[in-house]
Symmetry: C2
């Protein structure tokens, strides 16, 4: 009901809608309308009341609330089920818990803050309140477990597509780091999978996007290597708009993958890549070597021309060597 009141306020645009009209539309008393308005105000909606004209929606809260996101969301799967937390230890852990309980394909878990955000390889991810978009998506794909590692490329492509649409100049470092032009990190992704040998039970893709962090918001040890969209733009960025665009891109890519495989994702990844055609150092599991990054193959592996042949990199850290 609160959501319907909000929809009517939105429909009035910059104008007003009277309590009587709302009550009539929804078939409730004017007292009930007034209670819903009060609840919306408590949730952070700025609503102007005018004795004669009624109510007008002035501003919406800077929160990633499902009632804000979902009415605008043009997706088939991603975000059709959405759970919001003010703070949570880790959105990936919550998403995995929901997945075990059978939550549907495309379920989104989003938190304003994470107490113990997780990054790749047991690294942490700093997730301060309302400064970023910290979220996880549960997928129940039909592809084989062997294909699942490419989900991490898909997530990076979705985020970059959304950021480019909003005018940011960003690129992807293999496999899934989203960087600005100076090579500073904007986004981290942690993908986890639960599978049998011939079937993926579920994949959880966790993504952390640094939106409105300023230098003093970062822990000291990452201040030199991380950045945010607000720092690139010189002003805060609308988190709701960016989140909607990311979810829409992810939805489109996921449906394409389910229909035709990962080919289109890999092509778009190549387009956004800052790693390809660069001299790189590879810190692999067992050894370190250098070469030119020439392409990714159909498994998403990075192909390195070492001068003595090609090598395939499926895991490890790849750093781009500064040009002399």
């Amino acid at each position: 009901m609160q959501r319907k009141v909000l929809a009517l306020l939105r429909a009035a645009g910059d104008g007003y809608i009277s309590g009587e009209e709302i009550a009539g539309c929804l078939g409730v008393s004017r007292t009930a309308v007034w209670k819903h308005i009060r609840a919306l105000k408590a949730a952070g909606y700025e609503i102007e009341s005018h004795a004669r004209k009624g109510y007008s929606l002035v501003d919406t809260p800077d929160l990633l609330l499902p009632q804000e996101i979902q009415p605008m969301l043009r997706t088939k799967v991603v975000g059709q089920t959405m759970v919001h937390f003010d703070e949570i230890p880790s959105s990936n852990n919550e998403a995995k818990r929901l997945a075990m309980e059978g939550t549907p394909d495309g379920t989104v878990v989003v938190a304003e803050a994470q107490g113990a955000g997780k990054g790749r390889l047991s690294r942490g991810w700093y997730s301060p309140s309302r400064k970023g978009i910290w979220f996880s998506v549960v997928f129940r794909p039909s592809f084989l477990p062997q294909d699942a590692p490419k989900c991490t490329l898909m997530a990076a492509v979705a985020v970059v597509r959304a950021m480019k649409d909003m005018g940011f100049s960003v690129g992807i470092k293999w496999p899934n780091d989203v960087l600005d032009k100076d090579g500073k990190k904007l986004v981290g992704t942690l993908t986890e999978m639960n599978a049998e040998m011939e079937r993926v039970n579920f994949v959880v893709i966790g993504t952390g996007i640094n939106v409105n962090l300023w230098p003093e918001d970062f822990p000291e040890d990452v201040r030199d290597i991380a950045t945010s969209l607000s720092m690139l733009r010189g002003g805060n960025v609308n988190r709701v708009e960016l989140f909607e665009r990311v979810l829409e891109a992810m939805d489109e890519l996921y449906l394409t993958v389910e229909r035709d495989g990962f080919g289109a994702v890999l092509d778009e990844w190549r387009k956004y890549s800052v790693t390809l055609r660069q001299e790189v150092n590879v810190i692999g599991v067992k050894e370190t070597f250098a070469g030119t990054a020439v392409d990714i193959d159909e498994d998403g592996a990075l192909l390195i021309d070492t001068g003595e042949g090609r090598r395939r990199v499926l895991a490890g850290d790849v750093s781009i060597r500064p040009r002399k």
Copy 2:
């Protein structure tokens, strides 16, 4: 302490050891010894008491108890931690639960009976009490998630190696069914994985071996397609001995894989295969086709010569066509 008493009884072989000797060895009272003997008898150990000579171990219970298995087990990793249940809903579920809590590499969960044993693709697995070996192993491998599906081949190879060592004539149908000469099923495997994109958190390999089931022990709907070792031999088979051999084979294969990769496993799989060089029907995810099974590739995929080229099968059911 009970385990130490048992070890002394074993050390006496067919002979006797007095309560006084046991008490002296272990530094406890004779009353304490007597209590341990009583507890062992209650657990199913047959112990003869003789007023003058002392105690003699006549027979051990037909149970897959860690105190029976572990002292004999020549493994480095597999079964060094072992948990036994009289009945459990599913050994895989219990193994996954322990894995989440951090149980070490090689942990074995074994149950005399499963209330809701799980097979591949949500099929069930009938696991009556003390008739089979129903167990799961937790592995924490260093290989990449892309390699994990080959664990299911590894499990089949371990079981076949152990059965052949005990004189049974068995083979593997791709990917991991262990069959007798008439194509009846003896063993089922369900492998589950929990992974990030570049790291396997853990793999749980669940295996059900039909040891001492007789025709009336099988549900009617599988009676024609399943069999057991006791039916092949015409008499009950020692479960403890078989279990030890399977765990030892699994340990050796796992250590080889961790050191050198899956090459040796795939070679041994080829040796045991009943699928290769046969005319087969493939019921895949999207379609059905026929051809000759020519080999498995380095991913464990079955290669089928259809007459119009080669096809790779990574998932699905493969049936061997009867020769005309």
